[in-house]
């Protein structure tokens, strides 16, 4: 019997080691403080909660750097007399639990006045209540999950947390926008795939409803497991239904390989997705067969407006090692929205904690022209700007195809 017992003990140990390694925390917090300002000024911190390591780090680092840029500029301009702003960046590893810990850490810091983040809607669900209980405003540059501002019941929208705002549009608009674009370009039969996360599922549901409404057919609805690398089973299931396009709800670490595997297994139709696909890494992962794949993203292309170009130039001059990525402009606007609110709420406040409740109210009233368009919030904390753009992979890069306001 010794042989079999070695096998079984081994399997048990392996399972145990898996469980252990799953609890271990990876990556550290990445704190950097901003220079400038005079040392006698009181300090207020703007937090960032975003994935700074892992598969989505490209997006998270863009957010962190853009907020850092906004803070530096505010300090240089002495935007809030008597106060110096600092950045407090926390890594959420795109994981809800880690994000919650990061939020708890920031909420426990008496100097934190507002937070920019998160990237993922699923993480935001855990972060919202923690920050709300401390009256800290949260402005997300990237959460597109509808329920974050409108609650679970779409028919009777009710704002769950008054402290939560966002500068990007939601899946309720992004999904239907993609549906209309595909339908109007003559595609009537589509298969959908999502990754079972809040973002992906919400996007596909919104897409499906609008696409059926327009008269199109969903020929297959499949899901993938985001921890997997091989999607043969999904591709084999979709292929016999002969869709004219595949709509994917999820992010580029899975979307890129999915596109490549679809095409290498003979399902040669475009893959379309939301802003989660809109990153250069998608094209790297999907390879040369990604030509014609599409993604919607919120707002007009950052480099299509004068303000956006200025932002990109300043970002470049600041010398960050990572690009501003898909959400840089939104994060910059989110940070500036908080800073604009602070100009009113923090100016005469005795301490950061005392200024928190007023900041919530003042942030709701903010209205200025940001780099991604007009920045203002409706009664739910959603942005009032509903401009979206369809991007298409052309010649190995994302090219803006069509920018339109959703009505």
């Amino acid at each position: 019997m010794p042989k079999r017992s070695v096998v079984s003990v081994g399997a048990t140990l392996l399972a145990a080691s898996l469980a252990l390694s799953a609890c271990g925390s990876r990556g550290g917090s990445d704190n950097s403080s901003t220079a400038g300002g005079n040392s006698s000024a009181k300090v207020a911190k703007i937090g960032v909660i975003a994935p700074l390591s892992g598969d989505l780090a490209a997006l998270g680092l863009g957010i962190k750097n853009s907020v850092d840029l906004a803070i530096k500029q505010a300090n240089e301009a002495n935007a809030i007399p008597g106060w110096k702003l600092e950045l407090a960046a926390e890594d959420d590893q795109a994981t809800a639990d880690v994000g919650k810990n990061a939020a708890t850490k920031l909420a426990g810091d008496k100097e934190v006045i507002g937070v920019v983040g998160t990237l993922n809607s699923s993480v935001a669900l855990q972060v919202q209540p923690v920050l709300a209980s401390a009256n800290i405003v949260q402005v997300s540059p990237a959460n597109t999950g509808v329920s974050l501002t409108k609650g679970e019941d779409a028919a009777n929208p009710k704002r769950p947390f008054p402290t939560y705002f966002r500068t990007c549009t939601t899946d309720a608009i992004q999904g239907p926008f993609a549906a209309r674009y595909l339908f109007n370009s003559g595609i009537k039969e589509v298969a959908t795939v999502h990754d079972k996360k809040a973002y992906g599922q919400g996007l596909v549901e919104a897409f499906t409803a609008e696409f059926k409404n327009l008269g199109g057919t969903i020929v297959a609805a499949e899901t993938i497991n985001p921890d997997e690398d091989k999607y043969d089973a999904v591709v084999s299931a979709i292929k016999p239904k002969a869709p004219e396009a595949v709509y994917y709800g999820g992010e580029y670490p899975q979307g890129g390989p999915l596109s490549q595997q679809m095409k290498s297994q003979g399902l040669d139709v475009p893959l379309m997705g939301g802003d989660g696909l809109f990153d250069g890494k998608f094209i790297e992962l999907a390879g040369s067969t990604s030509e014609g794949d599409m993604a919607t993203s919120v707002g007009a292309p950052t480099d299509s407006t004068a303000a956006g170009k200025t932002f990109l130039d300043q970002y470049k001059t600041a010398g960050y090692s990572d690009p501003s990525a898909a959400y840089g402009g939104y994060a910059y606007d989110a940070a500036n929205a908080i800073i604009n609110a602070l100009k009113v709420s923090l100016k005469d406040a005795a301490s950061v904690e005392a200024a928190r409740p007023n900041t919530v109210t003042d942030l709701g009233k903010v209205s200025f022209d940001g780099v991604t368009g007009k920045v203002a919030f409706d009664e739910f904390g959603d942005t009032t700007t509903k401009v979206l753009t369809v991007y298409k992979v052309t010649g190995g890069a994302w090219k803006a195809e069509k920018t339109d306001e959703f009505k």
């Binding site: 392996l14 080691s17 091989k230 299931a237 390989p257 290498s264």
Partner: protein, 322 residues
Amino acid sequence: METFLQQLINGLTLGSLYALIAVGYTVVYGIVQLINFAHGEVFMIGAFGALATYLLLFQGQTALWILPIMIIGAMVAAVGTAVAMERVAYRPLRNAPRLAPLITAIGISVFLQEFIRLFFDKIPGTNFPSAKAKIPFPQIDVVTGKAFSPLAGVQIQRAAVFTIAMMALSALGLWYFINKTKTGRGMQAVSQDPDTARLMGINVDRIIVAAFAVGAALAGIAGVAQGLQITNINFKMGFIAGLKAFTAAVLGGIGNIQGAVIGGLVLGMAEAMITQYTGMLPDPFGQFGGSSWKDVWAFALLIIVLVFRPQGLLGAKVVDRA
């Protein structure tokens, strides 16, 4: 029928990959009775070795002739890792209680994963991307790209053909090595009785190193095949692949080389077929089909086989030394 053929090819591809890795578990087990749980990481390092070779020598090119050199790079990295781990971690524990090398194996597995995750981009003299996120794998002409269709309705992924072909070639090479070379026959002798083999003048230490090296070479090939199939690699890729390959080795009868190959093919085929056809059953059962259930079915198959045939499909090598 077309679906069946398609799944047959999917299953064969998956099975070939499992088989290539499973050989490493079974060869080492046959000789030193050690379940080398770090073998999945050898597979992962093989893939990174191929990528490193590509980035150092051929960055930006996609010609087919690069592929053999990448495979050699993968084998060098995998074999180097396996031989080093044998020398540093397993040999000092050769006569220790069995649990000691087993726990060491798990430790090495974690060590190698973290090493690649943290240091791949910091290797001096190179400019490799960080392994903290998925890294795109080079897409070589001919073996990647759009599917080709030999029969109407059946479309074959190019990398799948590569995987199956490499599996067939490796199986032939392995058969030749085990049965026709001096080292291979020495391996057979050591696996039957190491003490007598030593008395007959066989250098047992060398044979054990050879066993690790053979398994690692095949795992390196598997690493390239996997990279080409899914076009990206990451530091975690060895874990689940290693677990599945270990399952395949046990399924076929651990310690038995033909068993590992058969076990891999059976496991891959079962995964492809069960996920496809369970999904077509009428409603209360249909929900158990689809890709999200494939691991459940793979391990259920293992349990069923072990309940009715504990020695595995082809029979394990019976070793019971006091």
